[in-house]
């Protein structure tokens, strides 16, 4: 009984601690990591983020005539490794956490890339943006090999060396 009475002055001193969350801003600090955001103008579709992602929340899919970088928030563990790895700095970690949704498909975000088909065998293998970027860096020697898939590129190089001999 006496112990209970002792609580009353303490409670009046402390006051109310409950935060009024829906009516006031949540306690989100500077270092908080939420859902990521892919900048479509910077992204080249190289797939570095898909390799580093531990739960494979980011994935590259060939769908019809386009290469799709698919981000599924439902699998994301918010580690921010994709943002560190991205060579173009296209991925930004936002502080968005109110992601609740009624349908699972609302949790997907797609970035659509134009895909290149191999000149020789016709397989779809890499995004156009990435080839353009690599060509701008490497220049002349890659011009004829840029639009061939890795397998065809090997055959091309081998046949060239054999002719020279």
């Amino acid at each position: 009984m006496v112990k209970f009475v002792r609580v009353i002055p303490l409670a009046t001193k402390v006051g109310t601690v409950t935060i009024k969350y829906p009516f006031e801003k949540p306690l989100v600090t500077e270092s908080f990591r939420g859902a990521i955001e892919v900048d479509p103008s910077k992204c080249t579709g190289c797939g570095a983020c898909t390799r580093i992602c531990p739960p494979k929340a980011l994935s590259l899919i060939v769908e019809g005539g386009s290469l799709i970088l698919r981000y599924f928030v439902g699998k994301c563990i918010f580690c921010g490794m994709c943002a560190d790895t991205c060579p173009e700095k296209a991925i930004k970690v936002t502080r968005e956490f109110e992601l609740a949704s009624e349908h699972i498909y609302d949790l997907y975000t797609d970035v659509e890339h134009e895909i290149i088909t191999c000149k020789r065998c016709g397989t779809k293998f890499v995004s156009k943006k990435l080839v353009d970027k690599v060509r701008s860096k490497v220049g002349e020697p890659l011009d004829e090999l840029a639009y061939l898939c890795p397998t065809c590129r090997r055959i091309e190089m081998l046949s060239k060396t054999l002719i020279f001999r």
Partner: protein, 174 residues
């Protein structure tokens, strides 16, 4: 004398569900179900129930039995061992049967999405539940690893239809 057959798998219509939710708007009792979670999300659920967040101001109360509950707070990627218990617990919940899948594990399986010992998220057992005649009237997925207490409160608000959900499917051209 004709005996009316009770069909347990008869799904509620859209209007009927809205009506049931109207009745639920007064207060929601929740049951916490851990299906092999790492305890991160469970700690966040406990956080929600503490005086700091105090969800009892919305009438949300934790109960000890699924038979008393309106909403199941499901955490974890559903391991093979917990699956029969999960089905047993879900069968005990009265209609409308609402589920709140909390955390990345319950939504998509997290890093255990292709493990041999887990199902890999709640969406993957939806067909099994349908075959067993257990209808889930409404599910809300709350991503987060772990989901923030605020995110859980927001998820409950989406479940009860108090707010419109923010996240939408986006497809942008690069």
């Amino acid at each position: 004398m004709q005996v009316q057959q009770i069909q347990p798998d008869e799904s509620l219509g859209r209007g009927a569900l809205e009506k049931a939710l109207q009745r639920l708007r007064k207060s929601v009792w929740v049951f916490h179900l851990n299906t092999g979670s790492c305890n991160g999300c469970d700690i966040e659920i406990l956080d929600v129930l503490t005086p700091w967040f105090d969800v009892e101001r919305f009438g949300i109360k934790l109960v000890a039995s699924p038979r008393h509950a309106d909403v199941i707070l499901l955490t974890g990627p559903i391991t093979i061992k917990t699956l029969p218990r999960l089905i047993k617990a879900l069968r005990g919940v009265p209609r409308p049967r609402l589920v709140l899948a909390i955390g990345s594990c319950a939504v998509g399986g997290n890093i255990w999405f292709e493990s041999y010992s887990t199902i890999g998220g709640f969406p993957r057992i939806m067909d099994t539940l349908h075959e067993l005649g257990i209808t889930i009237d409404k599910i809300v997925f709350i991503p987060g690893c772990p989901a923030r207490p605020e995110a859980i409160i927001y998820g409950v608000a989406v479940l009860l239809g108090l707010v419109e959900q923010k996240s939408q499917y986006k497809r942008v051209k690069a």
